[in-house]
Structures are given as C-alpha cells and as structure tokens.
Subunit: 109 residues, 2 copies
DNA sequence: TAACTTTGGGAGGAAATCTGACATAGTTTT
DNA sequence: AAAACTATGTCAGATTTCCTCCCAAAGTTA
C-alpha cells in the first residue's frame, strides 16, 4: 500500500550537507522553508532533514532567485505546477478506476 | 570523465539517520567501520557521512551477524565478492578497449 | 586459560543545528 | 516619499548530534 519512496525522496540529509551540495547559505535554505518553497522533515530533536529532491528543487530556486524572481512568485509557479500535476493524476486514476470496475484489472498496466 | 555517481552512492547521511534507517546502534555502526566493513567519508569537522549503499550494506551485515557470522568472515566474503567484480570489470574494459581500437567506437554500446 | 569478538554505556569535548533578534540594502506598495 | 516588504548576513545562547577514548561484560575461539 504505502509506496516505498525511492532514495530520491527520502528525507535524510542535514542542512550542512545541503549547504555544501547547493552552495546556498543555511540562512537562505531556512528562509526558503519559511516562504514555503521547501518542506524538510524534522528529527526528534528538531533538526531539519532534506531529500535529494529538495536539493534539486533548491538549485532550481537558486536559479530563479538569480534571475530576479521573488519567492512568492516562485511559490505561485510551484502551486500552479502542482495543481496541473494533481489533475493529471486524478484523471489517470479515474480512467484506471473505470477499467478496474469494468474488467477487474490488477494494479498498473 | 568522472562519472557523477548516483544518489545511491553519495555520502550524505549522518550516523544518527543511519541508526534510524537500519535499527543498529551507533556503537555497532562505528565498530563495523573499525572492522573495515564500511567506509564512510568525513565532514571537515570529522562527522561520518554515509550513502544509501552503505545503509543497504549495513542491513546485509546485520543479517549475517544475526546468523552468527563474525566480522572478519564477512570482510573476507566482501573481498572475494569485490575481487570477482573487479575481474569482470577488467574483462569488460579490455573487450571495450579492443573494440575502440579496431573501430573507434564511442562510449558505451 | 588467554586472547579475541561484540556491544553497551559513560565522560568530556567539539561540531552542527536551532530559534530569535538586529541590521541593511534593495524593491514594492501606498 | 514614507512605509512596508524582500532577501540575506551575522551574532548570541541554547540544544542536539557527533566524536574519541575508555572500561566492562558476556560469549567465542585459539
């Protein structure tokens, strides 16, 4: 049931490593979280944990910032992007549901 | 030239996370390093950094330990395994080299 | 029996991270 | 233009995480 998310999405990287991987400052990384561009998890003690996806996203963000795009614009873009993605997902699932109902097919494909 | 090793092999995970992912104690993880079963990198400050491959390897190790295999046996197995792998690699590269010399082919395939 | 293996746990210290605050140079809004 | 906001640096003080070194102990091997 719960899909075992790949390495890319596992939240296992601490902020210092993310700093080294992205070249951003810790301040910037925390700020982008504050502006809801990224969503690290937390350890029991409160330390942030990022995924490789987060790292990639941060590099995209860094590029846009360099181009003068403001965080709240970036956020809007991301929401648009996400909404589009969700609707595609829903459509796909609905079609799949129909197929399952009609033919009792198994899982994907 | 330098192959950009995949996420799986990037050394980005600190020992506390590895502890959580594997269920091993930090003590055990450090001990297996001492016994040369794993080779974490180090941060500038000296903290260990592991890869997902290391995590997988640690879980294999944990299984063998549970089966009563001793670390130095595990190490021997690993060296054998590695040697076999190396020889396969060498053979592959030699064949590739021949092809390149004969036909000046590009990269893989 | 002596030596080795494996693991736990503690001490003391250093590295890494956290939040919150103040500062500042630009930019945008009113 | 004044006020508000953006983006980032930096610092302080606290907390968490990690380090090495050491002693102990139960089990295993030589």
């Amino acid at each position: 049931m719960g899909k075992d998310l790949s390495y890319k999405d596992k939240k296992v990287i601490t902020i210092g490593i993310v700093r080294d991987l992205t070249g951003l400052s810790e301040r910037q990384i925390r700020y982008y979280e504050e502006r809801k561009l990224i969503f690290p998890e937390r350890s029991a003690g409160g330390s942030r944990k990022f995924s490789f996806s987060d790292v990639e996203l941060l590099m995209d963000i860094a590029n846009k910032i360099e181009d003068g795009v403001q965080t709240h614009e970036i956020r809007k873009e991301m929401l648009r992007e996400q909404k589009k993605q969700n609707q595609e997902d829903i459509r796909r699932k609905m079609i799949q549901g129909q197929l399952n109902a009609q033919f009792g097919m198994r899982k994907n494909q």
